[in-house]
Symmetry: C2
Subunit: 210 residues, 2 copies
Amino acid sequence: MARTKDPVVRSLLIDRAAQMLRTREPVTLRSLVAGTGVSTMAVYTYFGGMDGLWKALRQEGFSRLAAKLAAVAMSADPVRDLAALGAAYLSNALESPDLYRVMFDAGFELEDAAAADETLYCLVRAAERARETGRFRDDVDPVELATQSWAIGHGLASLVATGPLPRQALAHGVPLLTALFVSAGDDPGRCRRSIEQAWKAVLPATDELP
Amino acid sequence: MARTKDPVVRSLLIDRAAQMLRTREPVTLRSLVAGTGVSTMAVYTYFGGMDGLWKALRQEGFSRLAAKLAAVAMSADPVRDLAALGAAYLSNALESPDLYRVMFDAGFELEDAAAADETLYCLVRAAERARETGRFRDDVDPVELATQSWAIGHGLASLVATGPLPRQALAHGVPLLTALFVSAGDDPGRCRRSIEQAWKAVLPATDELP
DNA sequence: CACAATACATAGCATTGCTATGTTTTGGTG
DNA sequence: CACCAAAACATAGCAATGCTATGTATTGTG
């Protein structure tokens, strides 16, 4: 027996905040609602304050990342797929670096932690397939290998997104992932071919080191 | 024919800001100068504003990191030294994670960019030595290998410092660096021994995966 | 229809970073 | 040594920020 929240307002605010991040406008309480017709109180009824908005924005970032990873077509070559997921991760991070920074900001509190797990499990499943098809050794733990791939991807994405490394440095992902997958048991030549193939399909712009 | 700045005040403010970061107190203009006897204007005469303070704080973070890396004793085993530098990097980042986050915040503007280069050159020199002593192949570019080591270290440090991974995940550095250095030509068994030796000397707390 | 719970709008508060204004110190110069 | 201008220093006040308190309007339910 009360008024119900309008989900349109909620997603409108999140989308607008993401857009303001992309255009580098400072996202403040008043600038966020300016022009939308809603008042500042909306941020409190829907998110409980600015902190809640940032948390929801992190969630949105992980949801978009999960969608990008889910859109990567799996093939008969699980190592290629693993590299394609890594390249998609980098592509997503560099496509909207400010949202990526927000995703990994302090606290790392998410409304739904399953979204972050989902992104990791994409990698875990590909690693499992690589082990089942004999590309990786039997003693390789898919979760650990996926975590290590994540560390490589996040390291490159973060260093490029925050400035110290240029965009072309993303190409370091090829030798790094090759080294990791070869250490997991894959044949060096075959591994390199799988990875380079995936890289050019997903990150065609940055396929050469400076 | 004017008054000169007192360098003591400058370093006092930087040290106090670093201390407040460590104790998780919010670093604001007024809270920073509270209790120090100096007024808020000091932040403007010495740093030109809060942005300048953050920039100086980034510089301080890189200076401390450079000191930590310089304190790592070099040995006759360049691969061990390279791993020891990586472990020291992780150790420094996790010792004061808030300062580490500030170092890689937006913009990445430094007062003296040479400090950041210095940290990378520590790794480059070790990689060069590894190549000269035959541990790495001749076609290995020391700068590229150092950059790739940096990406691994930053990825792990960032994921642990911001929350998603637990402290024990730093141990992933061992298999990751091993994979990278083996891909550079080092003998697998010898490489693993060199890295584990360095790891236990610098990061004795986190030498096992969960 | 009536009511109460909740969304929504407005106004005001404490705090933030910053600037304008005045005061004091100090380093070079005749 | 006396002078003075330039710069450090102190204080007050401003616009903007996030938040809360208060009042109004809306709507789902009995």
